[in-house]
Every structure is written in structure tokens, then in C-alpha cells.
């Protein structure tokens, strides 16, 4: 994985000291909250429902065991012994004191981490495929390209005050595991006539106005990828709306201009930019690539797994994914125990995952946007030992992509923007389905819950989505069906009137029962919904 050079470290260290001074001045009353707020947000420090919240960037979701240990130590030393892994592959701490914030950033800097650009109207953490570098189906590892974009976008003076926040995802396979087309810019590294290039999708997003990004260019040569991204941002920075924050995201600009007109404006800007090309892009890309070379996979690693333990066999079937190297798999550690809080991990669990990564996965971990953790390179021969250790720590839930593997935002339990609680609904649904025994029969069913229209829980992209709303001071939940964040991307539609907390759990089970009744051979929930449409579900839900 990428290691800081002297410039990276110097920049991060300098930012820590800058923030230390800003926080000191705030505590001494030399800065008002209005003056301090944009400064703390630039360092990922929010003021949330119960306390300050710190969001730490995990670039493209990749971290090593030393970094995971540091995250655990921060949870113990400065927070309440746990952290929350987010839908943008980051981690959040919910109980941070302002007087500790600079020390936390200093601790992060020691392990090459920071919280820069995890808030504000700038380019946020670049996200990517959590199986990058391991997936059997990728044309190349997308992370060097994500890293190149991270370097370009960090402290970019022109893009520090965009009309609104800006999110970029990079993938390198036809199978989209990063919700790429629901980002402001989605980049797919593709191969054409033996040459790699970048396919650009621009103007996607969730939030109050969900949109799927259209493709605006099929192929950008790799040495021009950053320049083309810069052109995309320039057009947005110049023409995006600043008069209304709800219409300020690039998706609104692309929608209002039309994809073709926007693309033409980008091409014009791109042409201008290429007159003064960036220096040594390919050279830097080659340097970055060296950090992402394959680990030394064991040749002829055994490809058999002893499946005599049925619990282990179930976990293998559900939570491991094909790897490009024979004898290896990627193993998913579920942070979704039945009745648990999606994405939360205790400091002890973080340390265990870190140690297991060191023992079994070449010292690498990944954070998934679905709020689970991946050990990307695990020998099949080590799987039983790995699973045993995970299971003993409550991390062995065999539920990847099932109805129990629920994405849920922090909701009204933690978030000052939320209108309704998400976590209790997720807990009740996972308990309901675990008790009913239907999880296995339902197969892949992606359920995503947001506590408000901002859609941090990706409800628009759920096969089943739930949106919490405030109805005259009472929590109410809308049910949506038919979304997908994958390569078959689609936006979910609302079924009808909302439900109370108990009612929404019943409603999800009712929708699941319609699927079980109507499905044809091999169909997932989403396939059946797409074939039969909304009406059978509506009839079952509303009579």
C-alpha cells in the first residue's frame, strides 16, 4: 500500500500544528464558532448530536494493521472504546473533545493518516473497490489511480471552495463494487486495444435528488486522467450553483445542462488544459504503482477447504470472494452481528482484525462501503483458523449481501441532520429475519437505511431501501424497492405511505414474502422486482 513520502508527511504534520493553533485560539475565545467552524470542518471535526465527531479518512478504504491498531488506540484513549465505519470507507468517532482533537490528529499523522477533506465543499476521500488488487475480474488494480487523484486533490487550491462537496470513486472491473455511478465522478479503468484508459461518468449521487451518472467520455488516456478530471471540476466550479445548496451538487448542473452539453464544455476546457500539460504524470503513476505490487503469493497454495464444520462452511460460502491468485480468497469480516449496530467495531475487535490481517492477509485490511472489513489476501488453508478467531470475537457472522447485512447511517441516535433513527430499525430487521430462518432462502437482498433525505445509508440504492422521515415529530419510515448500486445500477422507488417503527419491519418481511412467492429459478429479489414490478408488492403491503 502507499507510504507517505517526505512531502506527504510534511503537509500532514504542518496541518496538525495549524489546527492545534486554531483549536487553542477557539478555546481561548480568540475565534468565534462562526470563524472556527469552517476550520474544524476542514479537519473532519463536526459538532454532532451528543459531542464533537471526528471523521478520519481511509484513502480508498485501504489500511494496514499498524493503522488499524492506531484507530483502536484512539477509540480507547480519546473516545468510548469503539468506532463507526462509514459508507465512504472512513471511520468516525462520536465522543471527541475539542481539547483532544489536535492530539488525535497528531496520533493519526504518526501512522500516515489524517482527517483532512473529510468535510467541507472540497474533493473528499477517494473511494474504490474494496477487493482492488485481489479481484479476479479487474483489468488492473484501481488504487494507484485513486492514489494519484488523492495526491492531486489534496489541498488543491482551486477546488477547496467548490459549490458543494465532491466525491470520486475509481474502479477497474465491469462489476461495480463501489457504487461508482452514484458519485460526482465515477471513473472506470478500462482496457481498449491493449491500452488502459479511464472511462468517465459524471453527475451521479444520492441525497435528496438521486441521479445516476451518465458517461461523458468513453476513454481518456491514463496520462490525461487527472487533467480530464480537472476539466470536469473546472466547469462545475465555474457553472455550478452557489445560490442554493440543495441545487449545488454537480449532478444538478449536469442534469440541467444535459450530459452532452456538459461533456462539450468539459472537452473545451480539457483542450485548453492540455496546452499546458501536467508534468510527469506517468512517472508519478509508475512510482505510485510500485506501492501496490502484488504481495508474494505462495505458489501452489492448496485450493481445498475442509468443510466438515457446517458453520464454517456457511461462512466460507457467504463471506469469501474469489481471488486472482490460486489458493487465495478475499475474506469479509461482517460488522453486522444479528441485532448489532451496523459498522460499529470495538477497539478490541479492531485490534483483533489488525492482528489477523498481519497473520493472514499480508498486513492489509480494507473498509467496504457496506460497512464491513475485508482481509483481501487470505490463503484458503488459513480460513478455518481465521474464522475461528473471528467467531470467538463476535465477528464471524455469515451474512455478506444478505438481508442481515444492512447498511445503516448513524441516524437520529447520533446525527444532528437525521429525522429518524436508523440503527434500531436495522437491529429489528436483522433479528426478525435471523429468527424466521428466511435469510438463507432470500439469498442476495441488499437492504439500506437512511435516517434522512441526505441518504448516507444509500437507501436509493437498496434492493430494499428505507428512508426515515419526521412526520409531525414522530418517526416514520418510507419503504423503497428496486435500487442497485452495482453495475446494474438503478434508483429505488417508494412503495407508498410510510410505516411506524414496528410497521416498517413487518413491511420488509411482507416484501420479502412476495419475492419468495413470486420468484423464478435463480432470481434475486431485485430480479423478481424488475420482472413483476411494484404492484404485487403494493397489494401485499397496502391491501
Amino acid at each position: 500500500m502507499y507510504l507517505y513520502d517526505q512531502y506527504d508527511q510534511a503537509m500532514v504534520d504542518a496541518r496538525v500544528e495549524e489546527f492545534r493553533d486554531q483549536a487553542r485560539r477557539r478555546l481561548e475565545g480568540k475565534l468565534t464558532e462562526d470563524q472556527f467552524k469552517p476550520l474544524r470542518l476542514m479537519n473532519g471535526l463536526y459538532l454532532q448530536l451528543h459531542a464533537y465527531m471526528l471523521r478520519v479518512a481511509i484513502p480508498y478504504g485501504t489500511l494496514n494493521s499498524r493503522q488499524m491498531h492506531a484507530l483502536a488506540d484512539i477509540a480507547d484513549k480519546y473516545d468510548r472504546g469503539y468506532g463507526h465505519f462509514t459508507t465512504r470507507q472512513n471511520i468516525q468517532y462520536n465522543w471527541i473533545k475539542l481539547e483532544d482533537a489536535a492530539d488525535i490528529l497528531a496520533d493519526l499523522a504518526k501512522v500516515e493518516m489524517h482527517a483532512i477533506q473529510t468535510s467541507g465543499n472540497c474533493i473528499r476521500n477517494i473511494s474504490s473497490d474494496h477487493f482492488a488488487g485481489a479481484a479476479a475480474d479487474e483489468v488492473t488494480d484501481p488504487r494507484p489511480y485513486a492514489e494519484l487523484l488523492r495526491q492531486w486533490s489534496s489541498f488543491h487550491p482551486e477546488f477547496s471552495y467548490l459549490p458543494r462537496k465532491f466525491k470520486i470513486a475509481v474502479i477497474a472491473s465491469d462489476h461495480d463494487r463501489a457504487a461508482m455511478r452514484l458519485h460526482d465522478i465515477g471513473i472506470q479503468i478500462v482496457e481498449r486495444d491493449g491500452e488502459l484508459g479511464a472511462k468517465f461518468y459524471v453527475g451521479g449521487g444520492m441525497g435528496r435528488t438521486p441521479m445516476i451518472a451518465p458517461c461523458i467520455r468513453e476513454f481518456v488516456p491514463l496520462d490525461q486522467m487527472v487533467t480530464y478530471a480537472e476539466a470536469c471540476l473546472r466547469v462545475y466550479n465555474r457553472q455550478g450553483r452557489r445560490d442554493n445548496k440543495y441545487k449545488a451538487r454537480i449532478k444538478i448542473l449536469v442534469h440541467e445542462m444535459g450530459a452532452e452539453e456538459y461533456a462539450a464544455a468539459v472537452e473545451k476546457e480539457y483542450e485548453k488544459l492540455t496546452e499546458h500539460p501536467l508534468d510527469r504524470v506517468l512517472e508519478e503513476l509508475e512510482r505510485v504503482r510500485t506501492f501496490f505490487e502484488d504481495p508474494l503469493f505462495e505458489q501452489n497454495a492448496p485450493e481445498t477447504i475442509d468443510r466438515s464444520d457446517p458453520d464454517f462452511a456457511l461462512w466460507v460460502d457467504r463471506n469469501t470472494v474469489a481471488h486472482k491468485a490460486p489458493g487465495y480468497v478475499s475474506a469479509v469480516i461482517s460488522l453486522k452481528p444479528v441485532g448489532g449496530i451496523p459498522g460499529d467495531a470495538t477497539s478490541e475487535q479492531m485490534r483483533l482484525m489488525a492482528d489477523l490481517a498481519k497473520d493472514y492477509s499480508f498486513d492489509e485490511l480494507r473498509v467496504m462501503h457496506t460497512q464491513n472489513i475485508v482481509l483481501p489476501h487470505v490463503r484458503m488453508a488459513d480460513l478455518h483458523a481465521l474464522w475461528t478467531a473471528l467467531d470467538e470475537a463476535g465477528l464471524g457472522s455469515p451474512n455478506l449481501d444478505t438481508v442481515e447485512d444492512i447498511i445503516a447511517c448513524p441516524g437520529l441516535d447520533y446525527c444532528s441532520l437525521a429525522n429518524a433513527r436508523s440503527i434500531p430499525v436495522a437491529q429489528k430487521i436483522s433479528q426478525r429475519f435471523a429468527a424466521s430462518g428466511k435469510t438463507e432462502a432470500l439469498g442476495q437482498l441488499k437492504l439500506k437505511i437512511s435516517g434522512c433525505i441526505n441518504a448516507c445509508g444509500h437507501h436509493h440504492a437498496g434492493h430494499v431501501g428505507i428512508l426515515g422521515v419526521d412526520r409531525k415529530g414522530v418517526e416514520n419510515y418510507q419503504l423503497l424497492l428496486g435500487g442497485s448500486e452495482a453495475e446494474d445500477v438503478s434508483l429505488a422507488k417508494i412503495t407508498g405511505p410510510g410505516f411506524d417503527e414496528e410497521g416498517i419491519v413487518d413491511a420488509v418481511e411482507t416484501a420479502a414474502d412476495v419475492y419468495l412467492r413470486e420468484r423464478q429459478d435463480g432470481e434475486r429479489f431485485l430480479d423478481t422486482y424488475r420482472r413483476i414490478g411494484m404492484n404485487p408488492f403494493k397489494e401485499a403491503l397496502y391491501g
Binding site: E33, N94, D413, R421
Partner: protein, 98 residues
């Protein structure tokens, strides 16, 4: 009634105006109807509170109970982690929030 709330500047913890100071416990809050802005400005200027604002509340068994669920969650802590709330041992506290 109207009660005044904000966050402690140093810790960020939710606090409530008691008439003379700030408390972590909403049951200590007093009615500030008509004096919200004056107290909020004075206390914020003195850095005894961060971003104070007034909310509606009603008396419930003799103590203020915020009118909106969001403020009740603020007053107690996350409903999904009772161990982290201000009333970790009260089995009925969930009913107060919901």
C-alpha cells in the same frame, strides 16, 4: 415552556441552562421563556457554551421533557447504546425518549 441548550465548548457534551450555570442533565433545565436570546448571547460570549438555542419542552413528572424526539435523544444519549447514556441503569428510560 422554553429551555436553553447548547454544547460545552471543550467537550462538546450537551448542556442545559439551569438559571445560573450549565448542567449535563435536562431535569436541571429552567424555563427561559422571553429571555432565551439574552442568556444565549451572554453565555456564548463568555465561552461557557457553544451554539446555544432554545427549544420547546413540557413538564413531565416534575421535570422538563423536550418536545421533539431529537432533543430527547440529545438529552439522554444514543438509544441503541444505553450504556453510553446518562441513565445506563434505568430500564424504562427508552419510554421517556420515544
Amino acid at each position: 415552556m422554553r429551555i436553553l441548550t447548547g454544547n460545552d465548548l471543550k467537550t462538546g457534551f450537551v448542556t442545559w441552562w439551569t438559571g445560573s450555570d450549565w448542567s449535563l442533565h435536562v431535569e436541571d433545565a429552567v424555563d427561559v421563556t422571553g429571555k432565551e436570546d439574552e442568556i444565549a448571547s451572554r453565555e456564548e460570549a463568555a465561552r461557557r457554551v457553544n451554539v446555544p438555542y432554545a427549544i420547546d419542552a413540557e413538564l413531565h413528572e416534575g421535570s422538563p421533557r423536550p418536545a421533539h424526539i431529537k432533543d430527547r435523544v440529545r438529552a439522554l444519549g444514543p438509544t441503541v447504546r444505553q450504556d453510553l447514556t446518562l441513565k445506563p441503569a434505568d430500564p424504562d428510560i427508552g419510554n421517556w425518549v420515544i
